[in-house]
């Protein structure tokens, strides 16, 4: 878990970044504190053609069909020299109201891809639902697949490749979670309190003393 502004690690449940003090209020101050209505595919920068939009929406539908809890959104815009895609993605996923996304898929289940054709950069953000299963490396992997296409200005092709990689990674992660859900739960579960830890250790030691196996070994000796 990292801060959208300083990209430093922060602890879970931190109300603000302990390094730079960033919080949602700072993003609201930068981009606005009201809700923003938009569609899941918003091409404010105008880089997609009509048929490309159709293809992308089909790909997004496919992801949503395979993953009934999740939705994918793509947003393109120009942010100028002050562009801060991480903060914008973080803000939009919290303040955005996606009109064409079913109500049973809240923003917690969203994956947002932001593309800025002016500063030639792109970012990926995701909601709390995916946080135990998805991390920065995974998003980097998805965006890397699109790099060569975006480098040539083929934004739709790049986004498509990005979506395919996202789908592939989510499938893989879903299978891993099914095999070992505890591993992923520990990533987001509350830390054990010190008192509880002491009790656990003591309880464990006590159980060890009274285990029939050990007792029988002592009798034999």
């Amino acid at each position: 878990m990292k801060c959208p502004r300083c990209v430093q690690r922060i602890h879970r449940a931190a109300p603000a970044c302990p390094h730079c003090g960033f919080a949602i209020g700072d993003a609201d101050h930068m981009f606005g504190d009201s809700e923003v209505k938009l569609r899941r595919l918003t091409d404010a920068a105008g880089v997609f053609r009509r048929n490309q939009r159709d293809i992308l929406e089909d790909a997004m539908d496919r992801v949503q069909t395979a993953f009934p809890q999740i939705f994918v959104s793509i947003y393109t815009d120009t942010f100028g020299e002050t562009g801060n895609l991480r903060q914008f993605g973080f803000w939009l996923l919290n303040r955005g109201v996606f009109e064409d996304v079913p109500v049973d898929r809240p923003n917690e289940a969203g994956v947002l891809i932001v593309i800025d054709p002016e500063s030639k950069s792109a970012s990926m953000s995701f909601g709390y639902l995916l946080e135990p299963f998805f991390d920065e490396r995974d998003t980097f992997e998805c965006l890397s697949r699109a790099h060569s296409h975006w480098l040539e200005g083929r934004y739709a092709d790049g986004a498509l490749r990005c979506l395919r990689q996202l789908e592939k990674l989510l499938r893989k992660r879903s299978r891993q979670v099914r095999r070992d859900p505890d591993k992923y739960e520990q990533r987001v579960s509350k830390p054990v309190a010190v008192e509880d830890l002491v009790k656990k250790i003591r309880g464990g030691n006590r159980r060890d003393e009274h285990t029939p196996g050990k007792a029988s070994e002592e009798v034999e000796r």
Binding site: V7, A13, G83, R86, L112, L129, L130, A146, H147, V188
Partner: protein, 343 residues
Amino acid sequence: MKATLAAFFLSLGCAGAVVEPPMPAWDVEVRSQMLEDGWIAGRSLLTFESLFGEQVAAETPIDVVGAVPADLATDEAGENVVSEEYLTEYFSARPKRFLLDPQDLLGTRERLDLEAFLEHHAGDSSIDMVVYVFGADQEIPGEVREEEVVERLYSVGKPAVIVYYYLGAPQRSTIYLSPIITDAVSAAEQRRALESSVIRAFDHADPGEQLQAFLVQMSIRIYWMERMAEGTAIETMEVIPEDRAAYTFTEKKELKEVPEEPLPSWVKITASVAVAVAGLLLLGWSAFMWFRARARYVFPEFEVEPRLGASHAAGIGAVISFSSSAIPPAHQRDQVPDYMRRA
């Protein structure tokens, strides 16, 4: 003054031109002596007597004896007709060998090689090839009709292609087919076979090599004739004597232009297994894709404490720049704050 001098010299010139030297004249005795000797040098240049004499001599008809009917008959028949002594050997019965050269036009070695080849062909093919060798400028006598010979000698027995080959003149060659397969192989196909064989023959200069090339190509063309005759010939085999009728076209071996030997059993088994495995793999892959398309993936919903005051999301992913090909994704793996990045 000048005009006077010019007139003077002009008058002198005119007076000189009027006085001519006397013409030479024959001494009568000398001339008569030379006439007696029979020749006077330069006489033809000085008089027209000899020219008139020659013209008269040219118009005199030449006494030439005309052609007689006997001579004409000899010319028409020519001296290159195949001698009667060989006709029996050529055309009396169906030959037991496939190469007929009673005139010994071919060398021994060539003949043996060609016979071996024709026997090899006969062993492989359901249509024999019988070759009659004649000289380059030889003619078959008029009383011998090739069609009649073919019909008489080759109506029964194993079908054959009969080649009348003129050694050194492949273009004169003709072919005939046994009546049993004549209908099955079109005239056009026969003509093509002959033409292609002649063309192959002309690839060589030596008459022996020409014949060899001719026969090789004809053997190849006979393979296609076999295939064309496969349907009809079997039906007409009823007219062939029993000992010959045992032969059928199904026994032919395809060892011609496209040599194909029957595949070993292990190859067939391996091919069958490979095809079956490929089919199963394709089926499996199709089933996998179908199941995958229908698969639904659900993640367990763990409780995540909100961070940074955000109610829905605080999952910060990567940012990638595609401003320059000099900065590949591999160089952007370490994420830095946006304010440290160059746009």
